[in-house]
């Protein structure tokens, strides 16, 4: 095992020999994952601390930082193909953390047809991508970032905001008008259906930010400024009195039945924390596997796990961040107890082995692939055994 770890591919690398020791990455990293070499001042990355926000990558003036996810080549390559595919000259760059559904994008920016570019934090998008998009003939770029105080990577949203402000000045000087790039901010919040509240107090207990208050029995109030939209209270509410913007129970249910119908058996559905597993920009999905990327493992709801099995999914895999990596005050780990209880229950009807929780981090891109393959093999084996 330890041998495997030493050979593991990592998501971010700094080429020290070419580093100009400017210290931009060192000062920008929200996680103190970059050290300076005491003698040379060059950047040294401590991958165990790295959360793969991509801020250092997008900021490095010497281009000595490499990343496996959403690097310049893959972003521009994607833009070229997506421009053809969507037949549009409007680009919408959005953070997965705050992006509403497509109708929400339409409301935000008044655009119907657009090239979507959805990434975990807009802070990882370097200036070159904007310039490339404009040279490709994209006329309008809309950026949807998280409200600054709710940025899951702490500094990604504010930094991208400053980057866009500077770019707009440049674009104006070049004659592209004052608003070539529009930045809007958004953050997902809990929705409260007070008439369904049964005053159990779960939301009050579980919320890491003390946002919900039980004013009187059956009367829950949520301080929306305090709410970070992790969805934990929603997953813990026994009365379905809470829901989460864009990740409403009904929407996830619809997604489950749609994805289950698309898959060929053995069907494996993966509920991912979107900070634990990063999707590639143009996934060619395997016919046996589908993913639901949630804002945090806190929104992995036991109701949806059962529903997946009920809809004909053969295996449910949950990919969560380790507690230290959680972007939402440890909310992601809190659903493990009800999930374990459900697993025991599923065991009573022979499905216990077909549910698995794993903790992964994007810093080791192969770890998740490996676990998924292993789980898929196991599910295929169980299915064969049953049908034989």
């Amino acid at each position: 095992m330890s041998e495997q770890i030493t050979e593991e591919i990592v998501a971010v690398k700094v080429s020290e020999e070419s580093c100009s020791a400017c210290e931009v990455c060192y000062s920008i990293c929200p996680y103190e994952a970059i050290k300076r070499d005491a003698e040379t001042g060059k950047a040294i990355l401590e991958i165990e601390k790295c959360q793969v926000c991509g801020l250092c990558y997008s900021a490095c003036p010497s281009k000595v930082i490499d990343t496996i996810y959403y690097d310049l080549d893959s972003l521009t390559g994607y833009l070229e193909r997506a421009k053809q595919k969507h037949d549009s000259d409007t680009l919408v760059i959005m953070c997965k953390g705050s992006a509403p559904d497509l109708a929400g994008i339409e409301r935000q920016f008044g655009v119907k047809k657009f090239i979507p570019l959805s990434v975990p934090c807009v802070g990882r998008i370097p200036v070159e991508v904007f310039l490339k998009a404009i040279t490709m003939g994209i006329k309008k770029i809309n950026v949807l970032a998280c409200d600054e105080d709710y940025c899951r990577y702490q500094r990604g949203s504010p930094i991208e905001g400053r980057r866009i402000a500077a770019l707009n000045i440049l674009m104006e000087q070049l004659g592209y008008g004052t608003e070539a790039i529009t930045l809007k901010r958004n953050s997902l919040k809990v929705q409260v259906k007070e008439d369904l509240c049964i005053a159990c107090g779960n939301c009050v207990y579980y919320c890491p930010w003390d946002a919900p208050k039980l004013v009187s029995p059956g009367n829950v109030k949520v301080d929306m400024d305090a709410c970070h939209g992790c969805g934990l209270c929603v997953s813990m509410c026994p009365a379905f009195a809470l829901d989460l913007d864009n990740w409403e129970k009904d929407r996830i249910s619809m997604l489950i039945s749609q994805l289950a119908a698309e898959m060929a058996p053995p069907k494996v559905l993966v509920f991912c924390c979107q900070w634990a597993v990063f999707p590639s920009l143009e996934d060619e999905p395997n016919e046996h596997t589908r993913f639901i990327y949630l804002p945090c493992a806190a929104r992995v709801d036991t109701v949806h796990i059962v529903e997946a099995f009920h809809t004909g999914v053969d295996g449910v895999l949950i990919a969560a961040c380790a507690e230290d990596d959680c972007k939402l005050e440890g909310a992601g780990g809190k659903t493990q107890r009800p999930i374990a209880a459900l697993q025991k229950r599923l065991g009573e009807i022979g499905l216990g082995e077909q549910l698995h929780i794993l903790t992964v981090a994007p810093r080791y891109p192969e770890a998740f692939e490996r676990e998924l393959l292993q789980f898929s093999k196991k599910i295929a084996g169980i299915q064969k055994g049953e049908s034989a």
């Binding site: 009365a239 109701v303 059962v306 099995f309 229950r345 009573e348």
Partner: protein, 216 residues
């Protein structure tokens, strides 16, 4: 609150297998953990999956109501839930729920989905619910520093700990605190150890004779 545990799915499947159209009804009352609509919906899907193993297909209606121990509220709510098609009811309430429904719908078989275990308090950090009241009908918390030996001592002793109290733990289960060690510690802190000097007579287990019935 009334604490319940889930019955094994096989036991519930045995109950309901003779029927097809079944109403599963949760209780939003004091049942802990809450056995409301989330649990009712989850249970219906688990039973569907379990039914498949028995080649049995069910048609569930799933709902919840405010408190199944209130026969008036339950009657009003069930009126909209029970039609001619419903052949059986599965209640997620404590032991009171099925009994309320049986009186309201004498012709319908009603089954419990839970085992009712005790009156308890939730310790959220520990993730436990602990028995704290035995509903004995003759409360002595005033003499025992607010800690109930009837429900929290394995032997329900009234006059101090037994010889099995070891380092503050119970000989029956060393994971559990000795209630009397807690009582003595607390009364000592309050300077009221003298409260324990009076010998308590044997408990009157007929303080409320079974079946209990009062007019509040």
């Amino acid at each position: 609150m009334i604490v319940t545990t889930q019955k094994p799915l096989d036991e519930i499947l045995d109950f309901i297998s003779p029927y097809k159209n079944i109403l599963i009804v949760g209780c939003d009352g004091c049942t802990q953990p809450p056995r409301g609509i989330r649990e009712a919906e989850t249970l219906s899907q688990l039973l569907d999956l379990g039914g498949k193993l028995r080649n049995k297909e069910f048609k569930f209606k799933v709902n919840t109501l405010v408190k199944q121990c209130d026969s008036y509220l339950t009657a009003v709510a069930l009126k909209d839930m029970i039609d001619d098609d419903v052949e059986a009811v599965l209640s997620l309430a404590c032991g009171l729920g099925p009994q309320t429904i049986v009186i309201l719908y004498p012709q319908l078989p009603v089954f419990p989905a839970q085992n009712t275990v005790f009156i308890g308090a939730e310790e959220r950090e520990a993730g436990t619910i602990e028995e704290r009241c035995a509903a004995c009908g003759d409360c002595i918390l005033g003499l025992t520093g607010g800690i109930c030996p009837v429900s929290r001592c394995a032997k329900s002793l009234l006059n101090g700990p037994c010889g099995g109290s070891q380092n503050g733990k119970c000989e029956i289960d060393p994971e559990k605190d000795c209630a009397w060690a807690l009582i003595i510690e607390r009364l000592e802190k309050l300077g009221r150890l003298q409260d324990l000097e009076a010998i308590q007579p044997p408990k009157d287990h007929q303080a409320v004779a079974r079946p209990g019935k009062i007019r509040p």
